[in-house]
């Protein structure tokens, strides 16, 4: 039988790539509107909650090292609710793909392909994403592994140049508590990416303490995002709301860096690679959930269904990326409440030992 498993290290890299999804272009500016520079703490808080979800994953993996999520859910809550959860996750990942694609498309259209139109851009995205999903988790994990250090180097160069451009500390602690939490709620859909790991729990090979690898890479991803937030707020301070592409803008904020021609090409390449991987991961998440709802249909069907639904929703419902952003801050946070917190909380209880005193082997 074909080996479909991935190592803990590869899972960690997937985590790092997911952490960067949708958080390094527009998000710092959007959060600034509500929480000012305290948006940094909003991101920090949401990451801390995400880390609890990751811990829940480790607990579940310790209790059920080789079982699928479907098996675990059916065992605890039955077939119907299990399917219901998968349907919710299907929608979650579908909208994650839509959000990622919309934001990246808007970014690249502004920066590079001013004359291209969305559907033409889709031609270069959909086949690659489809291929990644069909070939499976193992192959695209290996591709991510191959490119991860190049991506990290890209982000690090952006951060290093931004450090040169840095103009002091951001203005912290200027928002009220309701503003802070309101802003956090509005953007929770952009977080909560670790739920993907639950979907592939049976496919991650984790020997003793190998969970540390996942934690390490998740930490790297969080460090990247928080550094970008911090530098963005320290460079732009009170005009952060006027800048839409954090990773590019921190690069091009000074005369020194601008004199090196179009230095933002580093950010562009990094974003392009990251986006392909993020779209593939989210699409795989959709496909995995789909296959668990419709057991009889294989992955090729899920990909075909994904393409059709994606195109219909994109053309009819989303169309412009502004619409997608509107949904992200209006009704999608409610969906995220379920996927990011309710489902992991439920899984947390499932991961607890059956009897008091029973201890599972710690895997991180």
């Amino acid at each position: 039988m074909k080996d479909t498993t991935i190592s803990a290290r590869q899972a960690g890299m997937i985590c790092a790539v997911l952490v960067l999804a949708n958080k390094i272009f527009l998000l710092p500016s959007l959060i600034y509107e509500g929480a000012k520079s305290d948006g940094f703490f909003v991101a920090l808080m949401l990451f801390i909650v995400d880390l609890f979800v990751l811990t829940t994953f480790f607990m579940l993996k310790a209790k059920y090292p080789n079982n699928t999520l479907n098996y675990i859910l059916e065992k605890h809550i039955g077939k119907f609710f299990s399917k219901l959860i998968y349907i919710v996750l299907m929608f979650f990942f579908l909208f994650k793909v839509l959000l990622t694609y919309s934001v990246v498309y808007a970014y690249l259209k502004g920066q590079v392909y001013q004359d291209e139109f969305a559907l033409l851009a889709l031609i270069s995205v959909i086949p690659v994403v489809n291929h990644a999903v069909v070939t499976g988790l193992r192959s695209f994990s290996r591709t991510i592994e191959l490119y991860f250090y190049a991506i990290s180097a890209g982000v690090l160069i952006c951060l290093a140049v931004a450090l040169v451009n840095n103009q002091g500390m951001p203005y912290f602690f200027n928002t009220s508590v309701p503003e802070f939490f309101n802003s956090a709620f509005k953007h929770i859909f952009t977080f909560g990416d670790y739920i993907f790991l639950f979907l592939i729990i049976d496919k991650i090979k984790m020997e003793k303490k190998e969970g540390k690898q996942i934690l390490k890479f998740a930490g790297i991803g969080i460090f990247f995002v928080l550094s970008i937030f911090f530098l963005f707020y320290s460079i732009y301070q009170i005009t952060a709301f006027m800048h839409n592409n954090a990773l590019t803008d921190i690069l091009s904020a000074s005369n020194q860096s601008n004199s090196v021609g179009r230095l933002d090409v580093i950010a562009m390449l990094t974003i392009m690679f990251l986006s392909y991987f993020q779209l593939s991961i989210f699409a795989f998440g959709f496909s995995e959930a789909f296959c668990n709802v419709f057991h009889k249909l294989n992955r090729a069907y899920s990909v075909a269904v994904f393409d059709v639904i994606f195109l219909i929703v994109y053309v009819i419902l989303v169309g412009r990326y502004e619409n997608m952003l509107l949904y992200t801050r209006s009704w999608l946070p409610y969906l995220a409440l379920v996927t990011n917190y309710l489902i992991p909380l439920m899984i947390f209880f499932m991961a607890l030992p059956k009897k008091k005193g029973v201890k599972y082997e710690k895997n991180y």
Partner: protein, 453 residues
């Protein structure tokens, strides 16, 4: 053939590659060159005519040329908003307006009678315009300024962006970009500072050249030349005077319009004799409105507390100590360390600036003769240190008066207090009838330590 088909079957990614190639290759092959579709704008000027905006674009025309001269042209467009005016300028050009290379944005002082933030909001937000685009203002319409700037390169081989860049690095030594303007505008104090360049007509040119040469003579003679104010102050304060070599007014004449010419609604008639005058002045802006102009000396008054502003020259006169007798000495600031601290004493805010200057003697005269010692290893006596300190303090005080009068905090007092003494500072502001006038109630302590480089 079968082999090829099998290869495609085994590697479906090749098929994906082929599909992408089929869709994109024709577009790439048959699309015209970027320069034929996009105009390369190097500077943007914004004017207002009645209710309409007029945007002028200094545009680089890529043409085959046997010289190193670039062909530029000024193209204008009008519209109800700046975005619309730029779009209309594109109609005139017959090309898409690309702002990625625009390094300068020019606005006229007339436009600055009203809040300019709403006039240049688009330029602050449009992603294709670099954040570091320098914002400058001029006493003439921006369009005329760009027409005059066109000739700079032809006449003296200087591009507008090079001139602006020189000013930013050596004269202003502070961020005067569009971004910095907005940072100041949206800050608590609503204060910003931007560069100011004048235009002079033919008569002014002659006058300026005369001024310039006069200034040069006076400098040579150890007087303040174009800086007679500071000379006067020097005399009042014990016969000292100071002059920075960079203070001198320099003018760039333009005898005729460049070959690029203007198109669209722009016109070069009547502008051929106008030239750009760089006197190193800046403009103070409060809530988007121009409130005052700072001379180069006043700007240097601000830059005393700016750690990045080095390589200035300081000239002191009537120095008599163990080494010199009634000498005039010119020092260059080779290094500078600035430490700013804030505190409250009995409810009074204190803004303390400690400046350590490393000076190098570069020129000296005793009466009519040059000093006959090696200046490289010269020490700085207490007399010299005292005079330098007095001169710099007096210059800082002069600038502070202007800032206080206009309620413009462009030296970062609010920022510093907000970071270090937020609660007390806000309490202090609340205690004032007009919190905007807080500079008048702020105690400044300038401590200058002078040492040899």
């Amino acid at each position: 053939m079968k082999k090829i088909i099998n290869r495609f079957k085994k590697n479906p990614m090749l098929l994906v590659f082929l599909v992408i190639l089929v869709f994109f290759a024709p577009f790439a092959l048959f699309s015209p060159g970027e320069s034929t579709r996009c105009s390369i704008v190097t500077a943007v000027g914004v004017d207002k005519l009645g209710e309409e905006y007029e945007v002028s674009l200094l545009t680089f025309i890529p043409t085959a040329n046997q010289t190193y001269l670039e062909t530029n042209s000024v193209v204008t467009g009008k519209g109800k908003s700046v975005a619309e005016a730029i779009s209309n300028a594109g109609l005139t050009l017959g090309k898409k307006v690309c702002l990625s290379h625009a390094k300068t944005t020019v606005i006229s002082t007339k436009l600055m009678q009203d809040d300019i933030a709403k006039d240049i909001d688009y330029l602050g937000r449009v992603a294709s315009l670099s954040e570091n685009t320098i914002l400058i203002c001029t006493d003439n319409p921006a369009k005329e300024f760009l027409l005059a700037a066109q000739t700079l390169e032809k006449d003296i081989g200087l591009k507008l962006e090079e001139l602006i860049s020189y000013n930013v690095d050596n004269v202003y030594v502070t961020d005067t970009s569009v971004e910095a303007f907005f940072k100041g505008y949206y800050s608590q104090t609503g204060s910003s500072i931007i560069g100011y360049l004048k235009l002079a007509s033919g008569e002014g040119e002659e006058k300026s050249q005369a001024d310039s040469s006069q200034g040069g003579n006076q400098s040579g003679g150890g007087q303040s030349g174009g800086n007679q104010n500071s000379g006067g102050q020097g005399e009042e304060s014990g016969g000292e005077s100071g002059i920075d070599a960079q203070d001198e007014v320099s003018g760039y004449s333009s005898s005729q319009a460049s070959s690029g010419g203007s198109s669209g609604s722009s016109s070069q008639s009547g502008n051929s004799d106008k030239k750009v005058l760089n006197s190193g002045e800046v403009v103070l802006i409060k809530n988007g409105i121009m409130v005052d102009k700072l001379s180069t000396e006043q700007l240097h008054g601000i830059n005393i507390i700016n750690g990045n502003a080095i390589d200035r020259t300081i000239t002191i006169e009537n120095v008599t100590d163990e080494s010199y007798q009634d000498a005039m000495l010119t020092y260059t600031v080779k290094n500078k360390r600035v430490k700013i601290t804030t505190k409250f004493e009995n409810g009074h805010p204190i803004f303390r600036i400690d400046v350590i200057l490393g000076l190098e003697l570069v020129e000296g005269k005793e009466g009519e003769t040059n000093i006959r010692t090696n200046t490289e290893l010269s020490d700085i006596s207490e007399e010299v240190a005292g005079k330098v300190e007095q001169f710099l303090k007096s210059r800082f005080q002069d600038t502070l008066k202007v800032l206080r009068k206009n309620k413009t905090d462009v030296i970062g007092v609010t920022q510093k207090f907000e970071r270090e003494n937020k609660k007390e500072f806000r309490k202090f502001l609340r205690s004032l009838d007009d919190p905007d006038d807080f500079l008048n109630f702020m105690n400044f302590e300038l401590v200058i330590k002078v040492q040899p480089d």
